[in-house]
Subunit: 409 residues, 2 copies
Amino acid sequence: MSVYQATASAPVNIACIKYWGKRDTKLILPTNSSLSVTLHQDHLRSTTTSRADPSFESDRLWLNGKEEDIKAGGRMATCIAEMKRLRKEEVEDKQPNEPKLSSYHVHIASFNNFPTAAGLASSASGFAALVSSLAQLYKLPVSPSTLSLIARQGSGSACRSLYGGFVAWEQGTRADGLDSLAVEVAPQSHWPEMHALICVVSDDKKGTSSTSGMQRTVETSTLLQHRIAHVVPKRMAAISAAIKARDFDAFAQITMADSNQFHAVALDTEPPIFYMNDVSRAIIALIVEYNRVSVEKGHGRKAAYTYDAGPNAVIYTLKENVKEIIELIVRYFPQAVGSFKDVFGLFGGVDVAQTGGKLVEGFNEAVAKKFEVGAVKGLIHTKVGDGPRALGAEESLLNASGQPKTLAA
Amino acid sequence: MSVYQATASAPVNIACIKYWGKRDTKLILPTNSSLSVTLHQDHLRSTTTSRADPSFESDRLWLNGKEEDIKAGGRMATCIAEMKRLRKEEVEDKQPNEPKLSSYHVHIASFNNFPTAAGLASSASGFAALVSSLAQLYKLPVSPSTLSLIARQGSGSACRSLYGGFVAWEQGTRADGLDSLAVEVAPQSHWPEMHALICVVSDDKKGTSSTSGMQRTVETSTLLQHRIAHVVPKRMAAISAAIKARDFDAFAQITMADSNQFHAVALDTEPPIFYMNDVSRAIIALIVEYNRVSVEKGHGRKAAYTYDAGPNAVIYTLKENVKEIIELIVRYFPQAVGSFKDVFGLFGGVDVAQTGGKLVEGFNEAVAKKFEVGAVKGLIHTKVGDGPRALGAEESLLNASGQPKTLAA
């Protein structure tokens, strides 16, 4: 008897033009287009195995080894149902000899290789991996853009994780959402020097979930509609052009402005929403000063911060600048020994916690105070990466009986 | 020989609809109208003595006992010159027997009864007191609105300190600024139950000055113009109506929304401007929760926070609620013993630092953590107050020879 199973991995993406607001909360249709950089799966990824079997009694899902409830009508159930529908329409109805996998229940196991405590949203990579593994299992002859329509219904920003490189989520105008999908602006290979440094920031405050927060902004902000109608469309065009021209200065200017504006409309909400804290603000001050020095020297901006719905900073920069940016961050935010994984070998075996942290010439040290160890509790260095990957059977997360394997977290 | 001298005091005002942006930086003409509550001079005031004497060799000014340079063409020089011009046109030219005080130099001494360290802007009360003392010295037959045209050229928000109660600064449309002045929306006596609690917040970060900050917002924010054209005009009308109807719930809703939006456009600036810190955010969380409980009980909002260009909170509330708000703040922000002056006798001689701080029933304690002593380094309780006062000769800040008296700070 055949085993119908597939394993796929999918990347995290971090937006430069932010998604904030839905025009349809069920279909997850956004109030504005957005654009992101796909991060490298060697460092951050979700891996998902899906199996269809006539003996399974229900659809079941395990996330990091723990079974999750698949609520009827919920986002997970919607994605699975949509994938079964595609299997039936695109494969089984057209090729009657294909097995009727759409009628079988599925068991799904998913695993994130980054700790939840890192504060990185796993819903984007998670839903992208789910949809990718089911597409592989079901042998669907469809494009990543078509799959992005389904991932979008799991978690809006998940649609952007269906491509590598630089990805736009076009808001679309149709009520059924069929034109609200991801498109590739440029592949990973177009600008492989694009690196990212994630600063994981400690927070002792419970944040507002992005799902409820964005709807409160839609309902109460008197600035959001202006952003949607007049600001984002220009920025989408401008940043796409900057990416195509590999113009980092322009990319950085737009990325930082849009991060600021997302947090501005969150603050313009009733009651106001704050995701950044004093540590986030201090990192901004460092990057602003770092860029000021660079611009003064005639080099343009060399770094771009961006913040999602939490206090963590993601700093985009080109490969050649990463080392000095890590030095800068470590000087103000001392790291615990052994906490930083130097996956690109920038420090030749020396732990960054023991470097002291250098400043570039001309940097005004007074722009921020030095924080205690733990204020920035981790740094993750990565770069632009590829889209979802089909993995071999040896990477399966399900055992022979269709239960999740035991994995070290 | 006659001594030509006058002493006046003027109040601090704290805006509910914020002034942020100039359309003319020399005349200090704003991009939008604003509205404030005048605070009581029994607690916070600037006092100024002006003397004109033919023996004085130049215009001189002492602020808190220290001589300040009156720069030619600067704001101080402009205000003094404008007042001399009014003296000449409105008094000396019309009544030739009046002494030609406009041709004499002046000595001016000014004193603030609140420490600079409190982080309260003294420029508004300071320029209002300067203009008021000169108007008295010069016996000018003009209205506070006319004087506000001159105080405005010293510091924009100073124009609102020319009236007590609830005061609008109408932005005006004329290029010469003659219609950009303060008008009384309602006097102090209309709503004397309006109280204010100032939470003085510690900050280890140098802030952006409001003068340079607001111009950066004008130049770089893509949201500010929408605020100016479409949001503020509606809010000015709505809050004026709320004040006239003594509708605290509406007053609070608009005040908090406009504080949030001012900080939102500051954040939408390049590079972004942050005035609130984690302590400011925690105070907001407390007031949001306090109001949530009150609204749930059917009482509407009972408190309104507002933040100017710094981390200090000003909390407006009605007299009947001040005690429980102080208890709430003290619970999360312990006060040093002896630091709070209970000028209204709310605590019957017990130091608030030793009360422990009570919570209202139903308050969710988890909305903020408890901070260390010093995070909020002082609380000042005051209420809506009157406009500038003419003081007697016994309050003079100048001695017989026209030099500043020595005063304890």
